[in-house]
Amino acid sequence: MITSARELVKNVESVVSLPSIFTRIDALINNPESNLVDIADVISEDPGLSIRLLKIANSAMFNFPAEIDTITRAITVIGTKQLRDLVLATQVVLVFKSIKQEGLDMPAFWKHCIATGILARVFASLRREPNTEYYYLLGLLHEVGRLVMYMDIPELMAKAVSNSVENNVSLHQSELSVIGFDHAMVGAELMKSWNLPAPMCDAICYHHRPSLSLNYRDDAAIIHVSDLIVNALNLGTSGESDIPQLDEQAWESLELSQFVLSDAIEQLELQYDEAVKLFLEDA
């Protein structure tokens, strides 16, 4: 019997292993002796990834005036830090894309994650964060724990779902009471098993209760708020049929006026369709 999020992740480790291309690119980016061509070479080994990167570099996300037709150029435009996050995002989607789960609408699931990512990026730029792609990545990954749970403990998840309906609580609350841990914790454990940095694991772990995070409260708060809004707007679904509770302290800590909401949502809507197309094609 699975007793913790960590055990659950250990169980699925072989199935949801992160493709090595990410680790290699990450190592190159972190190595001061490597250059753009080295990185471009690794990316070129994967035609799917190459095409995807070029598309992203040429998309409305970066608004570059001229067409970008080489990987090295794409890396220059996107920047190596953001590139790393983008590669990670594409690889994670690949890992989970082929999963067909009972009771879970996968395209809808990804739409929710993509929308959360875009909105998180919008809030990050409102707060003048330097690496906004990082927030897109966090948004994209914040709910993968739920996928792992559906994969490995589907009967327990079904129990959690019916419990949430019967007792009028959110699915997230239900996970905690029925299973003993929630998708945020599972997601964080998965990130850890992939050796992703602590700030990421932390932000994902606490995205429902940002105030509990010791060091990465603001990041968790951005994801928390974005996730909540995307739920309200009904863009895809992560399994919650209703809007989860707001951690009011988290909202306060962002120091944003509620009046930025309509512009932020407008930004989200402008980028949403294209982003969904980019990530869900060849599914």
């Binding site: 959110s170 909540l228 809004i229 309200a232 707007l233 049929s241 209703d242 809007i243 989860p244 509770q245 707001l246 009011e248 909202w251 006026s257 509620q258 009046f259 930025v260 909401l261 309509s262 512009d263 949502i265």
Partner: protein, 117 residues
């Protein structure tokens, strides 16, 4: 006298700032008591200001003018449905209230556009 901040797009020229208008870093752009002319509003908007405390009562509802086309009964149904989805939330919180209004408007406009019956 009300002190709820009003969103900048709803400010009418001639209204008066009830408190100092500051930019994101806390620097004062306009002193309390300054009249907000069309030009002034434009300038502070370009500084990223999204809301201002104004002197006087707010008389009209924020979104009222935009959804008058909708059949009130249908609007009420949308509102009920939305309230159900928002039931775990504190509706009087300014952020939640704003989100609710936005969702209400979006859904109403969407139904109107698709000619839902």
């Amino acid at each position: 006298m009300t002190m709820t901040p009003i969103r900048i797009s709803h400010i009418k020229p001639g209204q008066v700032a009830a408190s100092d208008v500051k930019d994101r870093s806390g620097r004062t752009l306009l002193a309390a008591g300054t009249e907000l002319t069309e030009k002034t509003i434009k300038i502070i908007k370009s500084w990223g200001v999204v809301e201002i405390d104004v002197v006087g009562e707010i008389t009209e509802s924020e979104f009222g003018s935009e959804i008058t086309e909708i059949d009130p009964e249908r609007l009420h149904l949308i509102e009920l449905d939305l309230s159900q989805r928002f039931r775990f939330l504190n509706r009087s919180h300014p952020f939640i209230n704003e989100l609710f209004e936005i969702c209400l408007r979006r859904e109403a406009l969407k139904q109107e556009a698709s000619g839902d019956h």
